[in-house]
Symmetry: C2
Subunit: 145 residues, 2 copies
């Protein structure tokens, strides 16, 4: 992979390194593209799907606070607020009082959100299995996998 160890000043990348990075990026873009077209075909935006998935996929519970979602979705707090607003008008999620902290808000799925997420997640699971090994190969940045 043309790397020494883990120093700050790296030696130049080889053509193969660039190709591997590009392949990896392409794999991600392709998956996200599949996801986008799939979810839009079901009437929701990619952001909505990610929101629903983050809620249902939260370890141990089925809801999350705005701050937690900001971390999971890697967005700013107020971007999540807006996203939740939008999803709420679509009847995909709802807000509820936090049991112990009156500042926080519990964001949780509506039955409709649950239904949509179920359908979409199944399609994503299938696609991931389809990509499966191909995706894993992308992770070998020296192109030898």
């Amino acid at each position: 992979m043309a790397v020494r160890s883990d120093q700050g000043k790296p030696e130049p990348l080889t053509k193969l390194d660039f190709e591997a990075l590009a392949r990896f990026r392409f794999g991600i873009r392709r998956y996200l593209r599949f996801s986008e077209e799939t979810v839009r075909g079901h009437g929701v935006t990619p952001q909505h799907y990610q929101l629903l998935l983050a809620l249902k996929g939260f370890p141990g519970r089925e809801w999350a606070t705005v701050s937690e979602l900001a971390e999971l979705l890697q967005l700013r707090h107020h971007s999540v607020v807006e996203l939740v607003n939008r999803a709420q008008t679509q009847d995909l999620v709802e807000r509820a009082a936090h049991p112990t902290d009156a500042r926080s808000v519990r964001v949780l799925l509506t039955p409709e959100g649950e239904r949509v997420l179920g359908r979409l997640s199944a399609l994503h699971r299938d696609e991931l299995r389809r990509m499966g090994d191909g995706f894993a190969a992308l992770l070998a940045p020296d192109g030898t996998a």
Copy 2:
């Protein structure tokens, strides 16, 4: 993973399935977030970096046509046109005549684009090695990896 085989009508996903999908998505978001902050810190947008990388990472050559880029970046043709326009004003890429097809355009890196890409790609390579196994584990959708 709670799957039968590969039929169209899937059985419902388990909590673990949802968690795995959410983890996978989180991993992607995290990587893209790292990428965005890194490249912006060097004065380019994420789209610019992806464009440069697609050019330099093209197997066998160091340039690509607009159509090829549209496929690699998973964008519409005209979105790529606009992206190339923007990158061109930043002196990151340039257009050149296609040798055999007068309709096509060769998009290639400028020396400046080459420099920027080299620096940024090294950082991405390092980050990927850092995430390395963690990312691979995300790919096991049943959470057992």
